[in-house]
Amino acid sequence: MSDVIIGLEVHCQLNKLNSKLFCGCSTRQQGLEPNVMTCPVCLGLPGALPVINKKAVEYAIMVGLALNCKIAEHTQFYRKNYYYPDLPRGFQITQYDYPIAFDGVLTVDTDGEERPIRIRRVHMEEDPGRLVHQGSIETSKFVLVDYNRSGMPLLEVVTEPDLRSPKEARRFINKLRNILEYLDVFDGSLEGALRVDANVSLKGGARVEIKNISSYKGVERALLFEISRQQNMRRRGIRVVQETRHYDDERNCTITLRTKEQAEEYRYYPEPDLVPLAVKSWESELKGRLPELPDAKRERFKRQYGISDSHAKVLTAEIRVANYYERVAERCDPRMAATWVADYLKGELNYRDRDIRDAFPPEKMVYILEQLSNGTITDKGAVEVIRALLDEGGDPKDIILARNLAKVETDITRAAVAEVLKENQAAIMDYKAGKAQAFNYLVGMVMKKTGGRADPAEVNLLLRESLECT
């Protein structure tokens, strides 16, 4: 896929703010009735005047700094004119020339290689309303409009066309999301918090814009679909036209919205109701308020806890996982904690398509690891406790009791070994004849007899002792 060229425009709602970008309406709108979080400003009523949320500007600068951008000396807003029912005024207040942050870079891990992806700009804008189509976007006769979302503070992060595969695009978006969550300006788990437009072309071909991809997984899927569409056309000698396509998540395909001939002309002009901003002087103070970001935390984890780079990477990608790990690591062996949080817990969560927020509290993990260290349970038992906690909840102590996960005593293991040896004369003969599998078979039989609760290392030892002595 080396001839694939992808650039992204990622829209992120600054949904940790209390109020909208230009008015005092609340940003908390999950599960609300339509049109209950509006006012004359975000409904675009005549004469209403927007005033910018100071904290939104601070957040925008912090994001710019975290993405290694330059912060503008002078920044201002424009009106972007187009008619669409999601815009109550017939224009969107956004930035055009003079975005608040520009010329940044974010490195993305692509199969072991860290590649820099250049950030062209980061700008502030208001979210339009939400449209509800009756039926699909192609066939619906009219739209229903909910302006609760109108005026939600958005940041648009625009990359240079530096991404080379759908997978790399997904990783970029994940990293961006993680950084925004580190900065505590964004909650990516809320519906519609992050929406992506992607520009895709094959080297030498026309550029197609895919609009309105609204899920993290949708980005990779939409790009894969669009790339294979363009490759098929090229193979059949059909020219790809420059156009905008809409991604349909349910059917996993892209459909034509408009071709270049009807391209939008937005007639941008400076927003006269908002005065320009001169906020570069805030830069140093905000820089001081930036938290430790993923790359720095990864280095510290390696240094402080002596864990591997791959563990440190998994543990620091998301701020919540990093915090979880540190709470376990301060009370257990940090390397053991790394294995159990990064490999086992994350693995079980991924398998269930769940977030660390839906896991059990770190204190329970500490308890499990203590039981593991003092030999009460086996690795296998610990995994079972983790699974049970995730699926049914409860207390690890009770789970160990109820499921009989405590390791069986040595004399029980010893008895099981003796029984197995008595019952499997043939295998013993095979073992003595030099067949290594026969030994594994015997270990398996002992484990079976003890319901998997014997310590495999101990079983090995006891079996070998007995076999050598007979």
Partner: protein
């Protein structure tokens, strides 16, 4: 001159305005005379003059991130020509 009737039609369609033929010609004439008038500015020497972004000469007007009451739903929808189940109802798009 710069603005033709075709340009006027295009601008009218972007602005969602219907014009009749007489209006199209009249607007073309008027647009041209406006542009002609602005051309006088080209004669001025603007060497070393900072661009003007805004006429009030004010910067950095903010509000704090504080929630204020919103309108009740029926107030918000009061002037809507068409509504349904608490939504504004609009024509099909795309």
């Amino acid at each position: 001159m710069a603005i033709s009737v075709k340009d006027v039609k295009h601008i009218a369609s972007l602005a969602c305005i219907d014009l009749d033929e007489a209006q199209e010609e009249r607007f073309a004439r008027q647009f041209n005379s406006i542009l002609e008038y602005f051309k006088e500015l080209d004669g001025l020497n603007t060497e070393g003059v900072e661009p003007t972004y805004h006429v009030i000469g004010l910067n950095n007007v903010f509000r704090e991130d504080v929630v204020e009451p919103s309108l009740p739903q029926e107030e918000a929808l009061r002037n809507a020509p068409k509504k349904e189940k608490g939504y504004f109802k609009g024509p099909r798009i795309v």
